[in-house]
């Protein structure tokens, strides 16, 4: 009559839903990394010389850099010569409309629940679909263009709006920033570009869906979002990959720039393949994301739900440069089976009266290791800076771990910084209580976990909050017992 541990374990066996592979003809360059490879990527994308030079500068610097080892994760050394840095589905001719997307690729996105036909899409969501190294389609471009919004793949932006790209590329995350950001600067292939002009409130959710498909390929996308004075945009990214025994590297860079009174909400639902139950395979998600609250009264909110990846290493942060600017970070990170996550945020207060809020919810199950690492820095001139941090960890089972590393660097005495942290175990008594009221074991665990994550979920765009909740319940399935 004990709460059948076996039943619980049976629940664990559900497979990763997005682990299929699409057989498409691809254009793939040879494995390995060299100046020649970088020139090849740049040429394929018909890039201007300045961009190639920028890549090469990054590459030369990268050669002198050491991979970081301070993070609380373990993995075998990555052989950077064993990675394919560019892979794209072959196209027969230049694309003029969505109808010309390779039907196989289109079917892949259909299967992932991201139909690329505009009329089939969720009302009010525009999508840029990135397949391995290239953007294959961007929906609602014309509609958005009519109010002056630029939403297109990064490669197209380089061609069509070089002045904007040149001005902002590397302005928040310079190519010298860190090992993985520098690598990305050298080899980045595609990503999304968004520009919201002065005073425009983006009429729909913008989103990018990243799909890694090809074997041995790394994905190095670059996203750049600029909100001009008084503009507003809410942006969402989602990601999946096939199941493979080898680890694959995903090293992206995201830069956000918010001018005076502009607001950017950036939400991530990360569901890269996490590896199997023995910890074999899975994506290494080593990502640099940073927002610049450049203008007075600007606001950047990062919301992330991280359920996938074998290893997650990311610290979406905000540089609060403008006076009265606001930075927010809301995060749910789950690690089940053998997943590892070292994630958190950096809030750099430079302007006066700047405020930041950090809410981090870590959930560990199985043998998962979950680390929150966060930095709050208040500069000398940042008078009346305020920060509130809350880090809660939930442990499911007794083989997992939760770790919290908050760093505070305060150089102005008027700052007020609060930090709260808690660690709790999902209680047998809580589960029993809910089951005694007729809820199944699964429903009971889901209810407890979603209650734990509530403060983060309510920050997500409504359509995706439901999705995130479902995803979370799948990723934790079978973790109790």
């Amino acid at each position: 009559m004990s709460t059948s541990t076996e039943t619980i374990e049976q629940l664990a066996t559900r497979e990763y839903k997005y682990g299929f592979y699409t057989d498409v003809e691809t254009e793939t360059i040879p494995k390995g990394l060299s100046e020649e490879i970088i020139r090849m990527i740049s040429e394929k994308k018909q890039e201007p010389d300045w961009l190639l030079e920028w890549r090469l500068k990054a590459y030369r610097l990268w050669l002198t850099m050491k991979e970081p080892t301070w993070q609380n994760v373990k993995y075998d050394p990555i052989n950077y010569q064993d990675i394919v840095y560019y892979s794209a589905p072959k196209k027969k001719k230049a694309l003029n409309s969505l109808d010309e997307v390779d039907p196989e690729v289109k079917r892949t996105f259909d299967k992932l629940g991201i139909p690329l036909e505009e009329q089939k899409l969720l009302a009010g969501v525009a999508v840029d679909a990135v397949f391995d190294s290239v953007s294959v389609a961007t929906t609602f471009r014309e509609k958005l263009a009519s109010v002056g919004i630029i939403f297109m793949s990064f490669s197209e932006a380089v061609r069509e709006h070089p002045e904007l790209v040149k001005k902002y590329l590397g302005s928040v995350v310079p190519y010298t920033d860190n090992f993985f950001a520098t690598l990305n600067s050298a080899v980045f292939s595609d990503g999304s570009f968004v520009y919201i002009p002065k005073g425009v409130r983006c009429p729909m959710e913008l989103s990018t869906y990243f799909r890694i498909n090809a074997k041995d390929t790394g994905q190095f996308e670059r996203t750049l979002i600029i909100a001009d004075e008084g503009a507003y945009v809410s942006y969402l990214e989602g990601c999946t990959a096939p199941m493979r025994d080898e680890n694959q590297l995903h090293a992206a860079v995201v830069e956000l720039v918010a001018h005076d009174d502009a607001t950017i909400k950036y939400s991530t639902i990360q569901n890269w393949y996490p590896g199997d139950k023995e910890g074999k395979g899975g994506i290494y998600n080593f990502v640099t994301k940073r927002g610049m609250c450049a203008g007075r009264g600007s606001k950047i909110t990062w919301t992330q739900v991280e359920t996938g990846s074998a290893i997650t290493w990311k610290y979406p942060g905000c540089i609060l440069q403008g006076d009265n600017s606001i930075g927010e970070f809301y995060s749910v990170a789950t690690t089940n089976n053998w997943q590892q996550a070292d994630t958190g945020t950096k809030m750099i207060h430079l302007g006066k009266n700047t405020r930041s809020t950090i809410v981090s919810k870590g959930i560990s199950a199985g043998h998962g290791q979950n680390t929150y690492r966060g930095l709050v820095r208040v500069g000398k001139k940042a008078k009346n800076a305020r920060n509130y941090s809350q880090c809660d960890s939930l442990l499911i089972g007794d083989k997992c771990g939760a770790h919290t590393f908050p760093y505070l660097e305060i150089r102005n005495t008027s700052a007020r910084v609060e930090h709260e942290a808690s660690t709790s175990k999902i209680g047998e008594d809580q589960i029993f209580y809910l089951r005694q009221r007729g809820l199944t074991l699964e429903d009971a665990v889901n209810m407890i976990v979603s209650g734990f994550c509530k403060e983060v979920f309510r920050e997500l765009p409504m359509e995706f909050a439901v999705e995130a909740q479902k995803l979370l319940s799948v990723s934790l399935e079978g973790s109790v017992g």
């Binding site: 709460t3 809910l434 009221r437």
Partner: protein, 253 residues
């Protein structure tokens, strides 16, 4: 409705129940009394299916089914309800949302249509009056920041919503002042009916002034040592548990 035969239970390595026999028919209210550590809460929790206990011998039949073969949530959906001695808090989960999920889990099991938000709120309003539950208790997280009395009222409120066939109240009176006790008792009495049974586990006779039992059983050291009518509770109150523990021979109820 409920038939317990020679029930023996241990928790970790400790033998707690050493052979319990108890028969409860529909329409009856049974009180289980006994000193601390006699095993009365264990009996309640075993009936509800708490995973902490091992049943080493005996059987429990509920409505013709083998109760011990059922998961806790199955038992609940089949109409077994336990009001907890210490209701747990569940952060971030809205009380009304939780109650609706519980009511609908049961309705679904019984093949009844699930209630939508409006129908559910109608049901809530009707039952909330009885237990003096205000709106504000519904919109808070489950039991979070509830006073001891509010938690107990919330338990009986759930019982009223779920309309169980067999209700087990585990020391529902502990920590209640006299006014709260009356409210809770009213809630319970409203559910008394010929097709329902109630087991009241309590240390004190006080609650039984308001929920008058048909039978009283005294538990001591894992056995029922005396059974009788409601007057047995009064006798206990007068003479104390020492009277039972020293004098009486174990009996089969």
């Amino acid at each position: 409705m409920l038939d317990i035969k020679n029930l023996q239970v241990r928790a970790e390595d400790k033998e707690i129940l050493k052979g319990i026999d108890l028969h409860v028919d529909a329409g009856e209210v049974h009180a289980i009394m006994g000193p601390n550590g006699s095993g009365k809460s264990t009996l309640a929790r075993v009936l509800a299916g708490h995973p902490e206990y091992q049943v080493t011998a005996g059987e429990i039949t509920y409505e013709g089914q083998d109760l011990l073969d059922m998961d806790p949530d199955e038992r609940a959906r089949e109409g077994v309800f336990m009001a907890f001695q210490y209701p747990v808090e569940i952060a971030g989960v809205n009380n009304a949302y939780f109650l609706k999920a519980a009511v609908n889990a049961k309705r679904k099991h019984l093949g009844q249509p699930e209630l939508d938000a409006i129908e559910f709120m109608q049901l809530v309003r009707e039952k909330a009056k009885l237990l003096e539950i205000d709106q504000q208790m519904l919109s808070r997280a489950v039991n979070e920041g509830f006073s001891g009395g509010e938690k107990k009222r919330n338990e009986i409120f759930q019982m009223a919503l779920l309309e169980p066939k067999l209700s087990i109240l585990d020391e529902t009176d502990s920590g209640l002042d006299i006014d709260a006790l009356k409210i809770v008792a009213n809630g319970v009495n409203a559910l008394r009916s010929p097709d329902r049974a109630i087991i009241v586990v309590t240390h004190y006779q006080r609650l039984l002034n308001y929920i008058v039992p048909d039978y009283v059983h005294v538990l001591s050291a894992g056995r029922i040592v005396k059974s009788g009518g409601k007057e047995l509770a009064l006798e206990l109150e007068e003479k104390g548990y020492g009277w039972i523990e020293t004098g009486a021979e174990p009996v089969r109820a």
